[in-house]
């Protein structure tokens, strides 16, 4: 299993969480051969989108990801900024074109942000929010609807094709918390930081055999 490393922050926690739930030979790498040889790929990400996209392109991680997704049909899990990078465009850093793997937008939560009761909401959205399961998926196995996961983000994803929505989160707006298409699953939350529920999702990922 390969965790794609494009030099943006703490990827060890993803790797140690995967190892904790039984993944064998987890490598954190941007080496072409290692990623090609891996049976599963995790595409994480933290930090600002412009720097992330620059590093993804410089290290050709975009091409590696495409190969894993469409040629090798390997299970791929994208996390947080990894999910945002899959979309068409992000408003962050004055507007950045992303990979357009999943058509959709990444927008700022906006100021001021309020919930349905008029309470002020802080940005970044930081902490534990309930995720509504919108569709059944093998990665949700053993995870009840409305389980709390750990989020930390100021920008939120909206996929154009609403049939891809696997989970949603309400934080002043209704944001896409999880998207699923064929052998790809993407989460805005951090499963590696979401305690038992997050570890369950990672366990489901390492046991997942996509139909395609």
């Amino acid at each position: 299993m390969a965790v794609i490393d494009y030099g943006m922050g703490n990827l060890h926690s993803v790797a140690s969480a995967l190892a904790h739930v039984g993944a064998e030979r987890v490598v954190v790498t941007h080496d072409v051969e290692q990623i090609r040889a891996a049976d599963r790929v995790v595409f994480p990400g933290v930090g600002a989108i412009r720097d992330c996209m620059a590093e993804i392109r410089r290290l050709r991680c975009d091409e590696l990801l495409q190969v894993a997704l469409t040629e090798q049909h390997k299970p791929v899990l994208a996390i947080c900024v990894g999910m945002q990078a899959l979309m068409s465009h992000s408003e962050e850093n004055g507007g950045v074109d992303c990979l357009n793997v999943i058509p959709g937008t990444v927008r700022h939560f906006g100021h001021p942000l309020h919930d349905a009761d008029g309470q002020r909401l802080k940005v970044p959205h930081m902490g534990w929010s309930e995720v509504r399961k919108v569709s059944e998926h093998p990665l949700w196995n053993g995870i009840p609807d409305a389980t709390r996961f750990y989020f930390v983000h100021s920008y939120y994803v909206t996929a154009t094709d609403r049939s891809l929505l696997a989970g949603s989160v309400d934080y002043g707006v209704c944001a896409d918390a999880a998207l699923a298409r064929d052998n790809l699953f993407a989460t805005q939350f951090h499963p590696e930081k979401s305690h038992t529920a997050g570890l369950q999702l990672l366990r489901n990922f390492i046991n997942w055999t996509p139909a395609c």
Binding site: H20, L121, G127
Partner: protein, 257 residues
């Protein structure tokens, strides 16, 4: 249901051991940080904060190693603070497995560090720690100033204005400690907590003075904090994290269970 209010046990670590002072004097030994962090993870803590109070250089290397060990076993967010002075220090801690890094004195000496760190690593991992102490009122209004050196050295900087400035420079969160209350078990200084939570749009963690579970509730309902941090009530098993969450939930606060 909205965002859960967070409970954050804090480990003050000196040379690889968890300690907790009373007003930074009279330090008691509370044990092995890795063991304690694992216990809080199992209890359902929402995050863990690790504050390194080690003075020596050798001790700092111990800290990196301890953070690595915690990060391998704890699957909730981990914040590391204490002695962070540069972008390199931040990178070292993030690489060791920290999710967020807390900057305190270095932000006072060099506010640009907050901007640089936020641009480089993202606001989500930059916490600015503020140690505030109440000073003489101005025109009948309370005023809090930032103090360094464990609350001994005044800086003349207004704590509320500083919090606003740090948010503008790119801090993702404020860790607010009342130096009047830290270690006293008399509860948070709610005045400064409220003043700062009202003044900034980023989340605020209240810290300093928790002696019982009602103090946690007050920090959220009266102080407006997004998260509450406590050390000794958890270390010495006066209360467990589930007990704290049950108490808060009974009083209408959303918590993760």
């Amino acid at each position: 249901m909205g965002l859960a209010k967070r409970i954050i046990p804090c480990l003050d670590v000196d040379n690889g051991r968890v300690v907790k002072g009373v007003n930074f004097v009279g330090i008691r030994d509370a044990g092995d940080p890795v063991e304690i962090a694992r216990r809080y993870n199992e209890q359902g803590a929402d995050e863990i904060t690790f504050l390194d109070i080690t003075a020596s250089h050798e001790g700092r290397e111990t800290t990196v190693h301890t953070v690595e060990q915690i990060a391998e076993q704890v699957f909730i967010p981990l914040t590391v603070g204490g002695g962070i002075r540069s972008v390199d220090d931040i990178r070292t801690m993030l690489n060791a497995g920290a999710d967020k890094v807390s900057i305190n004195t270095a932000a006072i000496h060099n506010p640009e560090l907050v901007r640089q760190a936020s641009q480089r690593f993202g606001a989500q991992c930059i916490v600015v720690a503020i140690d505030a102490k109440r000073v003489a009122d101005v025109e009948g209004k309370p005023r809090w100033e930032i103090f360094t050196h464990g609350g001994r050295k005044p800086t003349g900087i207004d704590a509320v204005a500083w919090a606003v400035k740090m948010a503008e420079l790119g801090a993702g969160e404020i860790l607010l400690t009342s130096m009047d209350r830290d270690g006293t078990k008399n509860g948070f200084e709610l005045g400064v907590t409220r003043a700062i939570t009202d003044a900034v749009d980023i989340p605020v963690i209240a810290s300093g003075g928790v002696g019982n579970l009602q103090h946690l509730v007050d920090g959220i309902l009266l102080g407006g904090a997004d998260a509450v941090l406590a050390a000794s009530i958890f270390h010495f098993a006066e209360y467990t994290v589930p007990e704290a969450k049950a108490y808060m939930a009974e009083r209408g606060i959303e918590v993760r269970r």
